[in-house]
Amino acid sequence: MIEIRDVTRTFAGRGGLLGRASVQALRGVDVTIPDRGAVSLIGESGCGKTTLGRILCGFEQFDGGDVVVDGQSLRELKPRDRVPYFRRVQLIHQDPYSALNPTRTIGQILADPLTLRARHVDADGDWVHRRRAELLGLVGLDPEYVLPRYPHMLSGGMRQRVVIARALTVDPQVLIADEAVSMIDVSLRLGILQLLRDLRDTAGVSVLFITHDVATARYIGDGGELYVIYRGMVVEHGSTETVIQQAAHPYTQSLLSAIPVLRGIEEPGPHRVVPTGPLDERVESPGCLFEPRCPFATVDCRTGVPALTRRGDTRQLHACLHPEHRSVVAVPVAGPAA
């Protein structure tokens, strides 16, 4: 289990004549990734969701708060002692076209980390070959077909599977999928999502799914937790289905309203929430951060800072002074003929 506790991260403003203000990428975020769990972070670009993923991989430092891996606080460790913990977290990039070395075959790409791994677990070359075939099988690829091929000979979906297999070579605890399906062909997207879902059982990993597309978050399996992040803060949290169906925060509702409606099979929900303007990072509100864009903001939203509050007796948390459920999600019309 990995617990992210009140983590903050501020990027110093870059120089220049006007001396840019610093950017608070994370303003105290709590996220728990249970073993074999499925956790999704959603929010628009620049909300800090990617920064959080990078902190977990050790690519990025955190300023305040703590990351606790299986009870071990990383804050207490020296940077070099943190490395083995970061190895338990592997990142799957958005772009499978640039994540693989084009001059090496898939066989070579997978053999390198496995050879290193073999030294750790005291295994021989045979083990490397066996494990390589095993991992490819796990991600649904035919080793005989894939091993001698170069990345350009594979489709985007197959490449993404290779990237996932490579991430699995070090026996990670958590796979971070940062927009991992947005560049995959539509007909193959669901296959990758189902693979991530299945890996929770077959490889015993938990999945941290980072996306701006809420719909895909539904497909990484049961027991999924959804965190909605706005300007470096969690504004709503709960089980994925609950947050989608019962969203109480206007920002979550605006994300859900933005999903295109498939006319003919779906009808738009009775309500539609549209932010009153685009995200402007220069505006710092003393109250609720979403207040400048919130269509329902009242006077007290300008001063009162909403804390994450439990909604009734549910597990759902939200950070809004005036939470109200609005039906923004599209509803299916009578079954499609398909």
């Binding site: 628009e44 670009s45 489709s155 985007g156 979906g157 197959m158 062909d185 539509v186 007909s187 193959l188 997207r189 669901l190 296959g191 999502l193 189902q194 701006h212 597309d213 809420v214 719909a215 895909t216 539904r218 497909y219 989608i244 605006s254 994300l255 859900l256 309203s257 933005a258 999903i259 295109p260 409606v261 498939l262 006319r263 003919g264 099979i265 779906e266 549209v274 932010p275 685009p278 995200l279 999600v329 599209a330 509803v331 299916p332 019309v333 499609p336 003929a337 398909a338």
Partner: protein
């Protein structure tokens, strides 16, 4: 769409009289008519078709959506409408007729350059990255005007301002900005403004919202709808995302392996898809509503130029319904009302 039809016929006066407006006028409701178009690419393996015998009408005043996966030929088709197929590609047969211009494929040199931009606007894929980083947007606008020999520069800038205002942006600020000072959504809107500023009546948008996040995508789609209606455009929108097309388009054409396999009014195609590929795409889409358990990914992978089946139905290797007949010949187009599809099995079901 009577208003749209009227506006398209009474084109706004062009600033240059040399504009070739002598071309034939299309009869009926189509503003662009593509007939039996084949585009092939020269490769070491020979001449391989990226588009095979495609026929499609873009209805005047309507939004037509073209959906397909990578390699399905949708961008090549769109470029053909500008007669801009990149080398080593070549149009081997067919015609592209645009209302008021005539056969675009017959145009060359100066006449062709005039038509591009002035009559047919094109918003390129990743157009948010297609601005010149060294010049402010306003300067690039003037470059565009000069290369099209626009006399009334002030008028053009006024037009651009009103377009940018329409799209909810501060026109003064945008025109004075360099591209890095604008967000992705703003750059995309500038791309749309550039495509429309010369008064094009046909506009082609290639993946206009790919790489934008949901909120920006939603606002760009709203803007496309608004500008389309206000300027009585004939719009072609290309996307790999059926959801975007389903939200926006009046009509949808589904492309697979260089063919249009299904084409019809959006609601009809989505609610009762005929072609197994369209059905497959719909069930493979992660959706916010509906049963997760019903979602199925499509087996196999989209073919590329060299792996498109040479005989029989191109979708056959991935099709759950394939029969022997499908291997023997390409399915002909079946027409029911406004709904067209090319599938033996679906045609049989219908009769």
């Amino acid at each position: 769409m009577a208003a749209g039809a009227k506006a398209a016929q009474s084109q706004p006066a062009q600033s240059q009289p040399a504009q070739s407006r002598t071309g034939e006028h299309l009869e009926g409701s189509a503003a662009v008519r593509v007939r039996d178009l084949t585009v092939a690419f020269r490769t070491p393996e020979g001449l391989l078709p990226a588009i095979s015998g495609v026929s499609i009408d873009l209805a005047r005043g309507q939004i037509t959506g073209l959906v397909g996966e990578s390699g399905s030929g949708k961008s090549t088709l769109a470029l053909t409408l500008l007669n801009a197929v990149p080398d080593p590609g070549q149009v081997t047969s067919g015609s592209v007729t645009v209302d008021g211009i005539g056969d675009v494929l017959a145009l060359q040199g100066k006449n062709l350059r005039r038509v591009r931009g002035a009559s047919i606007g094109y918003v390129f894929q990743a157009s948010q990255n297609s601005l010149n980083p060294l010049k402010p947007v306003g300067k690039q606008l003037l470059d565009l005007a000069r290369s099209h020999g626009v006399g009334d520069l002030r008028g053009l800038v006024r037009e651009a301002r009103s377009l940018l205002d329409d799209m909810g942006m501060n026109a003064e600020r945008v025109l004075a900005s360099y591209q890095h000072e604008l967000s992705g959504g703003m750059r995309q809107r500038v791309g749309i403004a550039f495509a429309l500023v010369l008064n094009a009546h046909v506009v082609i948008l290639d993946e206009p919202t790919t790489a934008l996040d949901m909120l920006t995508q939603s606002s760009v789609l709203e803007i496309i709808k608004k500008v389309h209606a206000r300027r009585h455009l004939t719009t072609l929108i290309i996307s790999h995302d059926l959801a975007v097309i389903g939200d926006l388009a009046d009509r949808v054409a589904v492309m697979y392996a260089g063919r249009i396999v299904e084409d019809g009014p959006t609601q009809q195609v989505l609610a009762s898809p005929r072609h197994p590929y369209t059905r497959g795409l719909l069930t493979a889409m992660p959706r916010i509503a509906g049963d997760i358990g019903e979602a199925r990914s499509l087996p196999g992978r989209p073919p590329d130029l060299s792996s498109i089946p040479r005989a029989g139905c191109v979708f056959r290797p991935r099709c759950p319904l394939a029969t022997e007949a499908c291997a023997a010949a390409e399915p002909p187009v079946t027409v029911t009302g406004e709904h067209l599809f090319a599938c033996f099995v679906a045609a049989k079901d219908l009769s």
